[in-house]
């Protein structure tokens, strides 16, 4: 219990920070709830990217820096293809391209680097990320594109009876959250009920033992990178539909790194919870803490959401390196 104290302190501090604006009367409950919901929506998107990370890390021990580039690539593909084709067909073609990419990555990058250290693999995925960014923008173009998911843009007002003025809610946000929940449900089903899922879990548990009972590591890698590609496509469509498809998509995905630190590298629920914490935390910090900081230190503007997630992750690393749901590390010589 004593050992857990710093961690509990951090969690309590976060919770306290969350409700402080309410307690001090700095904001009305309605506005606070709106910010909270906005944060949750951003968090869903972070969680989606983090999900891709976790899937690949679990199955192959690779910290996939290229997940953001995959999101960008697939979003660009969907955006450009859907200019000519119906959306569902564009998504289908993109999914096929992502599977092809997974096969290529496994053949050209992972297989030659098998048994290398995690850091080497991380740097290799950095290279993959660069290639994908360049390739995506060369093939599909590098302007700003939009994906029309066919959901009306104007926000709707809810809970007008409870709060004065009601709460603004974006329909596409709701659709995004719904899509994310459906995706996670599908993944959980895949992992729990299918034979492939069983093999995936076996490889995640102990690659050597899994191989010795006849599971092909290469097949598993292709599968898991394809699934991550699919997750990236969903993320790209959701995110691109909301904010437009452009290069910054690959950068926003960097936010998923602190998310997996928070949640633990090997935990799917961790990725989701971490994503929500980061999303809410950073929106709250930007809206409520930002102006205070600006006033106190005469800053030239806010923008603390650029680093808030990372500093939060850093604090987590200090008090609980394995994350919320991760496995403890044991060092062996």
């Amino acid at each position: 219990m004593i050992k857990r104290l710093p961690f509990l302190g951090l969690v309590c501090g976060l919770a306290l920070g969350l409700i402080t604006p309410l307690l001090t009367g700095a904001s009305s409950p309605g506005f606070w709830l709106e910010v909270l919901l906005g944060g949750l929506m951003a968090g869903v998107l972070y969680a989606l990217v983090a999900l891709g990370f976790v899937l690949i890390f679990k199955a192959s021990g690779v910290f996939n820096f290229a997940q953001g580039a995959m999101v960008l690539f697939s979003a660009l593909a969907v955006a450009r293809l859907s200019e000519r084709l119906p959306l569902w067909f564009a998504v289908l073609i993109t999914l096929m391209i992502m599977i092809l990419l997974a096969v290529l990555i496994e053949r050209l990058v992972l297989r030659p680097l098998v048994n290398q250290s995690g850091v080497t693999l991380l740097m290799a995925t950095l290279g993959v990320a660069y290639v994908l960014e360049g390739l995506g923008q060369t093939v599909w173009g590098s302007d700003i594109y939009s994906i029309d998911v066919g959901i009306p843009r104007e926000p709707m007002l809810v809970l007008e009876t409870v709060f004065p003025g009601g709460i603004l809610l974006n329909r596409d946000d709701l659709a995004a959250a719904g899509g994310a929940i459906a995706l996670v449900g599908a993944l959980v089903l895949l992992f729990r009920k299918s034979k492939t899922g069983l093999a995936l879990r076996a490889v995640a548990g102990d690659p050597q033992a899994a191989q010795s009972v006849g599971i092909s590591l290469r097949r598993i890698w292709v599968t898991v990178w394809s699934i991550a590609g699919g997750v990236a496509t969903v993320t790209g469509v959701v995110w691109g539909g909301k904010l437009g498809v452009q290069f910054s998509l690959a950068l926003i995905a960097l936010k998923a790194l602190p998310v997996v630190i928070l949640g633990g590298f090997t935990s799917i629920p961790g990725a989701i919870l971490g994503g929500l914490i980061v999303g809410v935390g950073e929106k709250m910090a930007e809206v409520f803490l930002g102006p205070q900081l600006v006033r106190a230190f005469e800053l030239a503007g806010g923008g603390i959401e650029n680093w808030f997630a990372y500093v939060l992750a850093l604090l987590f690393l200090l008090v609980r390196p394995e994350g919320l749901f991760g496995e403890r590390h044991i060092n062996r010589v």
Binding site: L299, V311, A313
Partner: protein, 358 residues
């Protein structure tokens, strides 16, 4: 011996203890390295034009310092960092503030201050490395990158209340020597690089360097034989950030002249990492080769199509550049994890035994 001395033999080991701790390990290559240094210092500025100096040689020299620093951390101590451009920014802004607020200060002291403050910040952001490693550390150093970027853009004191953190500086004055012309700047950067190279070379030969390498190779085992991981890791972070701080100050004062925090963004951090991957991890020569490679490649990629008469747009060229970088990283990691430095060594080996196979 058909080809005496043209390709020097591998270093012989010392046969006595006395010369072991000497500054240069070589009783051997003094003449050739001194000749090379003289040529680089006096000969190159005579022959090279302003364009070559300004857009190629000076950036290569300064980035080599930064790559040396990163290599001490990543290549020698095995601690990954994705945020070293932020430490360069610390150096640059410290130097700016020192020069602004204490104009009488000698620039060398300003540089020292830049390095020391970067080292202090590096130690702070390196503390997580005591508990975590590898992938986790990558994220911790990314935190440094984003946080420090923000600090220099938003905290107006650092940029003397200018807009969005952009600052500009005057030419350096060193005991009456105004470092203004391209060849002056080149010589100044080269002198510092030479100094820091000797420093790095000897650090990695000494007990500190050996402690770093032991930590890199087997942390628990190193601890068992009496190396303190706390000490080794934090010194690695400190020395590495010191190098980057000096490089950052030079990047601002000697190369850019005017800059904003964006000059030290994540891209530069990643480029530094690419330099040491391509150049060679854990090799002093590698930092030189990698920096040269990463600076020259984009310029070459922009020019080549024009020479071949295939005009391409700047956007395509930059995408091509990114793709080339990416594939080279993967290729080097797969085919030659020790980078260009190792390729050089292999080439020298081949030349020495030529025309025989071995």
């Amino acid at each position: 011996m058909l080809y005496p001395k043209l390709y020097p033999r591998n270093r012989a080991l010392e046969s006595r203890y006395r010369p072991e701790p000497w500054l240069s390990p070589a009783s051997r290559r003094w003449t050739s390295s001194l000749g090379l240094a003289l040529f680089a210092f006096l000969g190159v500025p005579l022959w090279a034009g302003d364009y070559l100096l300004l857009s190629l040689l000076i950036p290569v020299l300064i980035l080599t310092i930064a790559a040396l620093g990163l290599n001490l951390l990543v290549g020698y101590s095995g601690q990954l960092s994705l945020g070293h451009a932020a430490f360069m920014a610390v150096g640059a802004y410290t130097a700016y503030n020192l020069a602004l607020r204490a104009p009488a200060l000698n620039f060398l002291i300003v540089l020292l201050g830049a390095g020391l403050s970067a080292a202090a910040v590096g130690v702070v952001f390196g503390t997580p490395s005591l508990k975590i490693k590898g992938l986790y550390l990558a994220v911790a150093t990314l935190a440094a990158q984003f946080f420090l970027d923000w600090v220099f853009a938003r905290v107006r004191w650092f940029s003397n209340y200018s807009n969005s953190g952009s600052v500009s500086v005057e030419a350096i004055d060193l005991w009456g020597w105004t470092i203004d012309t391209p060849s002056d700047r080149y010589q100044f950067a080269l002198a510092l690089l030479a100094l820091l190279t000797i420093g790095a070379n000897n650090l990695v030969r000494g007990h500190l360097g050996r402690a770093w390498m032991a930590i890199r190779d087997q942390e628990v085992a190193a601890e068992v034989i009496g190396i303190r991981p706390v000490h080794a890791k934090l010194t690695a972070f400190a020395v590495s950030s010191f190098y980057c701080g000096v490089a950052g100050a030079l990047w601002g004062f000697v190369h850019l002249g005017a800059w904003e925090p964006l000059a030290f963004n994540l891209n530069l951090s990643l480029n530094l990492l690419f330099m040491i991957i391509i150049g060679g991890m854990g090799s002093i020569l590698g930092a030189y080769l990698g920096a040269a490679f990463i600076v020259i490649l984009p310029i070459a990629l922009n020019r080549l199509p024009v020479w071949f008469g295939v005009p391409i747009s700047t956007a395509t060229a930059s995408h091509l550049e990114v793709m080339t970088f990416g594939s080279l990283i993967v290729l080097f990691l797969i085919l030659q994890p020790h980078g260009l430095a190792r390729l050089c060594a292999l080439g020298r080996e081949k030349l020495r035994s030529w025309p025989f196979a071995y």
